[in-house]
Symmetry: C2
């Protein structure tokens, strides 16, 4: 039997992430851009607002006409035009004149302020419209100046950012009807194990259904990738080798689940050898997922994840997810790590760094609590459904008590962070 030397988790992550798996770009319509990552920054293509505009319904006028206005001195102005939003003013305002203006409309030439509708009285006389007001206005009062919100040329959103509703609004505002986004990395998935039944097969003695392939497919989608499922490898070498080799040709990244333990029937180490892949590591000082193996071949990466569902899940989130994020130009490719208070005791000692399936709650006073998502047996699949975080309990620690502050990795977080 082969002896394996476990490497620290930080080292393992580093070995994966220093691979030059460069992402590609593609141009898509603004219609299809949701949840994609930008492959170019969004830059203001014009000033916002692109003209001086009114923040209120009211009247645009010359402030100098109101210099002497006050409680006992009403000023009367003739209304010479009526501008809706999107309609351009055609008349320049001269002394003694005003223009009715709607919220968002362009300030007419000659005017330097806007008086709010409710601060005026209106009346008609001899077929002409007038307003009277009894307060004096200042120059620039109630005017939103051209470029006061955003100056043309400003970088508003950086490359690598996920397109959310606010980003999409900016794209529309600045005329990005098409945009370069990161191409979605294509991930191949292969399951190993003769004990695996397909999801629509009835349960049989000695067998379990293949849940890992479906789970990993969902993790790939959550990480912004797309996947191709190549089915189940037989526990037979030559045929399996050919399947892996052909799958590798089609994808950017290949994930296998199972077949990486040290045991009589474990295939993957032999396949890596025959492929002449460069095995980065085949054992990590962590639980679960210690048998995770990662290898590279011709600018592609092979992830040999454990056949154990929880170990498979954790291996993906720690090693595969960040490289998929990097591929999509995300400058914060790692899971967001924060601190949270343990909501219960965890007396178990941690000879190796342990990643515990857990979920976060928000307590009063703006603090985070972290709870176990289920029994911490690596073979229990049910707790994964309720996990929103992984607690990180460093190797060498002797157990934790309720109230202890621990690191947690947030699984549903979008923002991420720059370092593991």
């Amino acid at each position: 039997m082969q002896l394996r030397k476990p490497i620290p988790i930080e080292k393992a992550v580093e070995l994966v992430m220093k691979n030059r798996l460069s992402g590609e770009k593609e141009k898509i319509s603004i219609i299809d851009c949701d949840n994609r990552r930008l492959a170019e920054p969004i830059i203001a293509t014009n000033d916002i607002p692109s003209f001086n505009k009114s923040p209120y319904d009211g009247f645009a006028l010359r402030s100098e006409d109101t210099l002497n206005a006050g409680e006992n001195n009403t000023v009367t102005l003739e209304v010479i035009e009526h501008i809706g939003a999107g309609v351009l003013p055609t008349k320049e305002i001269k002394s003694g004149e005003a223009t009715r203006i709607m919220t968002g409309a362009q300030i007419p030439a000659g005017a330097d302020c806007v008086v709010m509708l409710e601060d005026t009285d209106t009346f008609s006389k001899d077929g002409k419209s007038f307003i009277s007001l009894s307060k004096s206005m200042e120059s620039n009062q109630n005017i939103i100046e051209k470029g006061s919100e955003v100056k043309e040329g400003t970088v508003l959103v950086e490359e690598g950012t996920l397109i959310n509703p606010g980003v999409k609004a900016l794209m529309a505002t600045f005329g990005y009807s098409e945009i370069y986004v990161a191409k979605k990395p294509l991930v191949g998935i292969l399951a190993t194990g003769t004990e695996l039944l397909e999801v629509d097969e009835p349960i049989e003695p000695g067998k379990i259904r293949n849940s890992n392939a479906y789970m990993v497919a969902s993790q790939v989608l959550r990480a912004g990738g797309i996947y191709k499922y190549f089915g189940k490898l037989a526990d037979e070498f030559d045929q399996s080798y050919e399947t892996v080799k052909q799958a590798l040709d089609e994808v950017d990244i290949l994930i296998t689940t199972g077949g990486v333990s040290v045991g009589d029937f474990d295939l993957m180490p032999a396949i890596y050898e025959k492929l002449e892949a460069n095995v980065l590591f085949n054992k990590v000082a962590m639980r679960p997922g210690s048998v995770t193996t990662v290898a590279t071949l011709n600018n592609k990466i092979l992830f040999g994840l454990s056949g154990n569902p929880s170990a498979c899940y954790v291996g993906f989130e720690l090693f595969t997810r960040p490289i998929l994020q990097k591929y999509q130009f995300n400058k914060n490719p790692y899971l967001k790590r924060t601190k949270a208070k343990m909501a219960m005791d965890f007396p178990k000692a941690n000879p190796f760094t342990r990643f515990v399936r857990s979920y976060i709650t928000y307590a009063d006073h703006g603090t985070l609590n972290v709870h176990l998502a289920g029994m911490d047996k690596s073979n229990v699949v049910s707790s994964l459904a309720h996990s929103t975080s992984l607690m990180v309990l460093p190797g060498g620690t002797k157990g934790y008590q309720q109230g202890d502050l621990v690191d947690v990795l947030l699984l549903d977080d979008i923002e991420g962070q720059a370092h593991f």
Copy 2:
């Protein structure tokens, strides 16, 4: 001009949410289930494990055979069979016998424990295989018992839950090759405003590009819906009325952006009247979004959101998002609300409840901080791109200082909560 009476935000949310907009179900393949919401619970269809199995590579044997084993007393057993994972044992173990067993394989009849591979020595003699061990085993030692993880019939995940990788793994484990999920609600989107340019039109004096329709479309997708964009209403009554009426026939919910302010060119109030829609409210004591109008007609809901981008955004998140979640059977349809510490001063007084575009950071000691996402002018679109939360500053408060604890609504949170 029409006088409008603002109602409290809590009352407005309640009026929207008590509508009986009942969601529909549809059956889909497990392949397509990601990010859908369950319309049925996931129930364990068998025990897990479905047989007694081994947690280790090793040998299954009868513990009574090892009663006297110890440092000075080696026990030798004949290996009668060799079982891989997924292969069924065929031989019952009798006294003096053992079976080689892999991780996850079924325990053969007769055996009641598993000794780990590393605790044994193996040898061959006369063409037969043997192990020797020098420690005594207990009954049930290293056996994962049938049903010890999950009992058949247990409800594992409730209706309304979002399908994440863990939920999908459970579906596969229990043979849900198809499942009922909530049908995605269809939301119609209509923009109003002659000042609006389409995204691919060059910028013109007095005009702005239509960003609200794109933004709202993205918000609909984030809330789990699908949308149909019906284009831009002209500022002309009869034609606009017909467009709204026809759009309503096709959708579950209709959103219009703009046209709800009190002003000469505002269309929507007149359209609601002619439709004989039941206007739930047309003014809310909040900033931004005070002119948000919501009406019902024949079990459909019309959301008249403001034409101002930030007001439109906030109106959607507060009123439209939760009803879309309810439609999808989510029992926690409201935005997750928690407390966070203000990272800066906010000296402005809040005559009405103010929702401030903001983002969250995680500080040491497991606490949340909240930061302004940009200038708090409701006409500034750029800050929406960087918002991950809305600060809630209650009406009647006189300004806040750095370090004050305030409520925040988390925009990217998946879990939600049961009350506003």
